[in-house]
């Protein structure tokens, strides 16, 4: 039995320690907002927070999980508001999504960036987000939404 804390809840799973967190979230715990895109840390679709830091769950064996896990389903705003996290509000305001498949990962990377850097520059956003592939190429709006979310967090 491996114990994990996911979105504030204790979960224990009876799986090999080498099992990637991605598949535990998706197949065992039903948290399907975290996506499978490449399986080898090249696309960021599977990004979750581990101890508050953006982490590729496809390359994180559950045996190595160190810290609380937060997925898109557990992303909450400052006051736990219905609007969700500032990145989610910004994403909606700017109509960032197209197919949407990469967007959980994009928002998790963005939320992690903003937790560490309240006012990232364009270059800092690129550095933090370059690992998140979007085949629909929503990058211009992702960038704008990160800036917008930063403003929302400041307010």
């Amino acid at each position: 039995m491996i114990k994990l804390k996911i979105n504030g809840q204790e979960r224990s799973v009876d799986l090999d320690a080498e099992t990637p967190l991605l598949w535990v979230l998706r197949d065992e715990l039903g948290l399907t907002g975290t996506k499978f895109g490449c399986g080898v840390a090249l696309c960021g679709a599977c990004t979750v927070h581990m101890g508050g830091v953006a982490t590729r769950s496809c390359q994180t064996p559950i045996g190595d999980v160190d810290g609380d896990i937060v997925t898109i389903e557990g992303l909450v705003g400052k006051d736990g508001s219905k609007e969700g996290h500032a990145v989610q509000a910004a994403w909606r305001a700017l109509d960032v999504v197209q197919c949407g498949y990469c967007q959980s990962g994009q928002m998790m990377s963005a939320a992690s960036l903003l937790a560490q850097n309240k006012k990232p520059t364009d270059d800092e956003i690129t550095a933090a987000m370059n690992g998140n592939v979007c085949r629909c190429a929503t990058y211009q709006r992702v960038r704008a939404a990160v800036h917008d979310a930063a403003k929302r967090l400041e307010a």
Binding site: T34, K35, I72, Q103
Partner: protein, 734 residues
């Protein structure tokens, strides 16, 4: 004449309206346009929801659900079709909901294909009148129900933001009248003169300020894609495919695979060997532990170099088939003062949607249930029926959100759906099956944009204007060998190989376009903008060469040759104005232009590049001007063009599927790397004001990008980009 008669008889050539009526009849709606409830009894039982016609449902709480007949793979038809219904019903945007239509090749046919399917950038164009008619029809009976209840005349009732009001002070919502409206017979004598609104009255169509309808589920993780579907008892299947196209299983050893915890079954299917497991990770591990010997006796063994050589040889000779022959191109070339000649090559390209291919099948004796991002139900449903011995109506398809497609989910052979069904058959339907392709499977799985070679010889006269254009194209046909070949290939010409070149927009008096179709055992498919992905590049870079040879400005040169093409002219002028065409550029920067029509829309783009210190190319800015007819959702149009620019740019910069001895060399996003944020230029999108019906927007943003980029590189370096992709070529500043 009643509204219904007018719809029926007014414009006999109007396929959209007639199509709607045929469809409504086919659905057993009775006479028409949903003025009788469609399946109302069944639906009314479920929470009092009333379905007024195949496209509109109203629930007692006032929610209006639009039944979306097209797959939404990011291009936005859920938003677009909901906009059309909301507009005609004068609904409030917040009361709109959507659901994907079931498979029904008659009721939910794409009126452009006469079969259910999404593609060719037709989603809004083919639905434009159909969905507005459906909305207007639903509105009419709901208003009548209110009029009956209030004992007033219909004409005195107004609807705004989903609220019905009467000057007497009476107010109500659609939800309140849904049930009563469901019992109203077709009102053959409606007073309303037009079935739908005049554009001046639009509150949503063409307007800014309301948001995509899929924002919520796609930002909170609740949107369900195929990959997220889980049925009771379902097994996940991962398949070992032959390394070469056309290869087969010779033998396999599954001893190690079966030792993997969670692996339940290993079965051979025509496509390879499938490992079925309780979860995805076990299925992947099991597949990796399989030992398979392959039989390559019928496999494609050639490599990319050989294939490209074959294509280049083909274009060095006259084509096997002639697509266009106007005037006497060869004669004019022979006598011309100046001939410019160039050859081009284009690689195979994978669609690489963010969600790798997958499909869920639950196969039972008396029916099959499939759940997936279905893009071509009109093909998939009969294909599954034939594979299983079921009738098409026993094959139920539930469409879910697709994580991209770019054409990959609409396949004439229904390849991935077939694979899933064959697995389900191999286990006798004992469990529901979710077929999952890994990224590597997806990259190596074929159905690529075909490789092509082109050769153009163009002559200019003393005034610098073109007098002759000979254009030879060689490559694989998308339709050859499929069930659609007879319909799509005419006189040896598959239009998807030549479209965009065979109908050259520029006024050139002598034009010959020839095609040599090559047979290669690598499956090919339409890839966002299909033939235009390569023809636009050749046409738009060659015309640029001619402009330079003539010593003329590339925009002015094009305009002079587009005198009878008002939409091209408008887009080109708009893009030139917005981009500041002709303005001074610093050394090391370049600016290029291209304009191209595809899917009945015209897009012009100006690309600005900077040559980096190391000689690499950085794309700084792309300005696009679009004529896509009436703009339904301005922000979706912008998003599609932004996305099309990014999609085209990634491919132009660095994507190629290559084969070595028949084996695909690329596997994941390292060897087939999509555009990343750091590569994304600033994109500005402008639209040409138009009153014409809407035309395509999902694809037309792609074709002009690569040639405009190539022309920009030329303007900075004096070098032409004729072999794609750009790769890591280095340039020196001219």
């Amino acid at each position: 004449m009643s509204v219904l008669d007018r719809i029926r008889g007014d414009k006999p050539t109007d396929m959209n309206r007639r199509g709607f009526l045929a469809i409504a009849g086919g659905a057993g709606v009775g006479l028409m346009v949903g003025l009788k409830p469609f399946a109302a009894e069944a639906e009314a039982a479920a929470g009092g929801i009333v379905q007024f016609n195949p496209f509109v449902k109203v629930s007692p709480d006032g929610a209006i659900t639009v039944v979306v007949k097209h797959l939404d793979m990011g291009q936005g038809p859920t938003t677009g079709l909901a906009t059309l219904i909301a507009e005609e019903m004068d609904a409030d945007w917040s009361q709109m909901r959507t659901e994907f239509a079931p498979a029904d090749n008659v009721v939910y046919a794409n009126l452009a294909f006469k079969a259910q399917g999404t593609g060719g950038s037709t989603a809004m164009a083919n639905s434009w009148e159909q969905y507005r008619t459906a909305g207007a029809a639903a509105r009419a009976v709901l208003v009548k129900a209110a009029a009956d209840k209030w004992q007033v005349s219909q004409g005195e009732i107004t609807v705004a933001k989903g609220v019905l009001t009467h000057p007497s002070g009476k107010r109500g919502t659609y939800g309140e009248f849904a049930e009563a409206a469901s019992k109203i017979p077709p009102p053959t004598g409606m007073a309303q003169e037009t079935p739908y609104k005049e554009p001046e009255k639009f509150k949503l169509i063409g307007k800014e300020g309301f948001h995509r309808i899929d924002n919520d589920p796609k930002t909170d993780g609740t949107a369900i894609y195929t990959q997220d579907v889980k049925l009771p008892g379902m097994l996940v299947a991962v398949v070992a495919h032959p390394p070469r196209f056309g290869g087969k299983v010779k033998s396999f050893d599954d001893a190690e695979a079966k030792k993997v915890k969670g692996v339940e079954r290993v079965v051979q299917i025509p496509q390879g060997v499938a490992v079925l497991a309780k979860n995805t990770f076990a299925a992947i591990k099991g597949r990796n532990a399989l030992k398979v010997e392959w039989d390559d006796s019928a496999a494609e063994m050639r490599g990319s170099e050989e294939l490209l050589k074959m294509a280049k040889e083909a274009v060095s000779k006259p084509g096997v088939a002639t697509a266009t022959n106007k005037g006497d191109a060869e004669g004019a070339l022979a006598g011309a003062a100046k001939v410019i000649e160039a050859e081009y090559t284009f690689p195979y390209l994978a669609h690489a949607p963010m969600e790798p291919l997958n499909c869920v099948v639950d196969l039972k004796k008396d029916g099959a249930r499939l759940i997936y991002g279905a893009q071509f139900q009109g093909i998939d449903q009969p294909t599954v029926a034939a594979l299983t011995g079921l009738r098409p109506d026993q094959v139920k398809i539930e469409t879910v959100w697709a994580g991209g497609s770019f054409g990959r989910r609409a396949v004439p052979t229904a390849d991935y759906v077939t694979e899933a069904v064959m697995i389900a058959k191999a286990i006798d339907g004992a469990n529901p099956v979710k077929l999952v392709w890994t990224r590597e499977d997806d990259t190596k799985g074929g159905y690529y944009r075909p490789f092509y070679a082109h050769k153009v010889r163009a002559a200019i006269g003393a005034d610098g204007m073109p007098v002759a254009w000979s254009h030879r194209i060689a490559g694989q046909s998308i339709f050859a060998g499929t069930a659609l070949e007879a319909m799509a290939v005419k006189d040896g010409v598959d239009d998807t190989s030549v479209e965009g070149a065979s109908n050259l927009a520029y006024a050139v008096p002598n034009l010959k376009v020839e095609l040599t179709t090559l047979k290669v055992g690598v499956p090919v498919l339409w890839w966002r903008s299909v033939g235009h992905t390569h023809t636009a590049h050749v046409v738009e870079t060659m015309i640029d060469e001619l402009a330079h040879a003539a010593g003329k400005d590339p925009v002015e040169y094009r305009l002079a040759l587009l005198k009878d093409k008002p939409r091209h002219t408008a887009a080109l002028k708009l893009v030139a104005e917005k981009a500041g065409w002709g303005g001074k550029l610093e050394k090391g920067k370049g600016r290029g232009v291209a304009v191209h029509e595809s899917f009945k829309s015209v897009v012009a783009q100006v690309v600005e590049v900077t040559i980096q210190k190391d000689g690499g190319v950085k794309v700084d800015r792309v300005v696009a001007a679009v004529d896509c007819g009436t703009v339904i959702n301005p922000d979706v149009v912008r998003a599609q063009v932004e996305g099309g620019v990014g999609f085209g740019l990634g491919a132009a910069l660095r994507n190629a599927i290559t084969l070595d001895g028949g084996v695909v060399q690329e596997a994941n996003f390292d060897s087939y790397e999509p555009l990343r944020m750091g590569d994304m230029p600033k994109v500005e999108v402008y639209t040409v004001v138009s009153q014409q019906p809407p035309t395509g927007i999902g694809e037309p943003g792609v074709p002009p990008l690569a040639p405009a980029l190539a022309n920009a590189i030329f303007s900075a370096t004096g070098k032409r980009l004729r072999d794609l992709p750009l790769g890591d070529q280095k340039f020196t500043i001219a």
